[in-house]
Amino acid sequence: MPVQVQGEVLSIRRVGAYFAMTVVAPGMAELTRPGHFVAVQVGGPESSMLLRRAFAIYDVKERGVYGGTVEFIFSVHGKGTAWLARRRPQDKLDLVGPLGKPFRLPAERVTATLVGGGYGSAPLLPLASLLRERGCRVDFVLGAGDQHRLFGQLDAKRIATSIEVTTDDGSSGRRGRVSDVLPELLDRTQSDVVYACGPMAMLRAVTEICSSRGIPCQVAVEESMACGIGVCMTCVLPVIGDDGKTRMLRSCVEGPVFLGDRVRWSDVGTIPEDVVGSITAQAGH
């Protein structure tokens, strides 16, 4: 169950191309699991930006000198995130969280490969720690456009058995995409499960690689959201259910974590004809 909290910025720091923001948000940390996200009000109480910005939760501390804190990573995309980047310690920030369904953890000691694109690695790092605590082997693949857009390399190195890095421009690690190195890594480590978070195209590629090897993968999707709590119906994508039927599911409450092979990647952004309730060329709002 999420809480709405008037938080206070504890710290904001630059991490490569991104910002890491820690907010004192009592009551939120103890409820948070890896994969949960937080929805942040931007622009202040008189803001002309009505919609919250959603970010995966990176780190939480249940207790501390300042009470419970949550930390999230963001990059400046527009006016809302630019405003957020200008916050300073002690500024007030209205947060709702934790939101969404977190990553499901394996019941047994397995070998897990975690694949993060850009700052999509943020929720994977606490997940990795949790998996290690449970005796799992963890290997990382981190990819980004360039070295400044990689996130969490040092953390990942500390936690994981191995780490592979790719960048589109070759400025760090191997030149290319995570999907270039993933097949070989999965075969080498005999990975039992894969967890991924990053851009939709990457998640699709990771899912295809896993499916061809029969490896279950959980992906945390990035869909644009208005409310983050399940009432606005904007963040839907076509997902196949246990009954084999496809429904337009809300990534904020039924996700953001989905089983990769249940998402109809080629149909994202459309209403497939065989979706429950589909009407071709329907209109209306």
Binding site: G27, D94, I229, C235, G269, G277, I279, G284, H285
Partner: protein
């Protein structure tokens, strides 16, 4: 722990002693603040943030006869003080809605205002008939601002005849004793003409307003931002349009109950609607940014009414229409004397 964090503020605040009950048709609601259709699903999600039974009513997302998947994404674009949406009435269909959503609201003790939407007059009649005997149903809101296949892609609410036909069909098959409100579109030349047609057809009240048709172009892709191309504009950006619609309809139809909505963010915004002639208000888009907004608006409205010396919300309904020669006294409690508010008199004696 969760409960405490959320509920603590509610307990700390004592709402001023103002009679907030409001009459919509044959039903008296405990207070005049509702959710808005399409902005609260069926109440369950918001109940995590406040007790939804504390609101006047929960207006549920427009429900159709069959399950509906809605329009393609992207479905949302943020605009200055507003947003554009093209959801396309995604929903589970009336049967699943009755079994799950309405049953939950009834069990929760909330008053459900069920919004219905159809593609034809017959759809609406069937939907209304399905609501007979439904527990928890307090009112029906007829969303006639959705596109209509029988009327060549036009919106029912853009045509007085089509609007009247839907209202009449709903009234005929709806359960007796349940008020039927028609929700109108502001995208018309004269909203009072549509309002009158609905009332003549038997509408017990009017919901004003639905979203305005809008379009946003993404300057990066150089294409419309929404998958559905056009969408409905909502949020504080449309508030003056909504207040104008309420004002005009109140003037044209002095006795018809009005549920006003369009960009309400604060108690003062709600008061604007009430003064323009709304008997109750819906808080919609603001919920996306602030899930506790409806209950906060209710608290703020109560304070705003008390500060102005009102002892009930009913006294304030339509007060902005009073003739200019009636001057209200200046001061911190401006309307107290005019309304003979005892609280105000007490203050004078002190």
């Amino acid at each position: 722990m969760t409960e405490l964090t959320v509920r603590k503020t509610e307990a700390a605040f004592t709402r001023p002693d103002v009679d907030l009950t409001t009459q919509l048709g044959s039903v008296t609601f405990p207070n005049p603040v509702f959710t808005a259709s399409g902005c609260a699903a069926a109440g369950q999600e918001l109940d995590q943030f406040f007790d939804v039974s504390q609101l006047g009513g929960i207006v549920t997302k427009s429900i159709m006869l069959a399950p509906r998947s809605g329009r393609a994404t992207p479905r949302m674009a943020e605009t200055p003080s507003g947003m554009l949406n093209s959801i396309g009435l995604q929903g589970p269909g009336i049967d699943a809605f009755l079994d799950k959503d309405l049953a939950w609201l009834a069990q929760r003790g909330a008053r459900a205002v069920v919004s219905i939407a159809g593609g034809s007059v017959e759809d609406y009649a069937k939907l209304a008939a399905k609501l007979r005997g439904a527990k928890g149903l307090a009112m029906i809101e007829v969303n006639i601002s959705c596109p209509n296949v029988e009327d060549r892609g036009q919106v029912f609410a853009c045509d007085p005849g089509a609007s009247a036909a839907v209202v009449q069909a709903v009234k005929r098959s709806a359960p007796t004793g349940v008020p039927v409100f028609a929700k109108l579109s502001p995208d018309v030349t004269d909203i009072t003409e549509i309002a009158k047609a609905c009332v003549d057809a038997g509408a017990d009240g009017l919901s004003l307003i639905n979203t305005l048709l809008g379009l946003v172009i993404d300057t990066d892709t150089m294409r419309p931002a929404l998958g559905g191309i056009t969408g409905g504009l909502s949020g504080p950006a449309i508030r003056p349009v909504a207040v104008r619609a309420v004002w005009q309809v109140r003037q044209a139809l002095p006795d018809i109950p009005i549920l006003g909505m369009g960009g309400i963010r604060t108690g003062l915004d709600a008061l604007e609607f009430v003064l323009a002639g709304a008997n109750a208000v819906s808080v919609g888009t603001t919920v996306f940014g602030d899930p506790r907004a409806p209950i906060r608006v209710l608290d703020e409205l109560a304070v705003a009414l008390a500060e102005r010396g009102f002892s009930s919300v009913a006294e304030a309904v339509g007060l902005a229409h009073r003739p200019p020669e009636i001057r209200l006294p200046e001061g911190p409690d401006p309307v107290g004397d005019t309304l003979g508010d005892p609280a105000h008199d007490d203050e004078e004696q002190l």
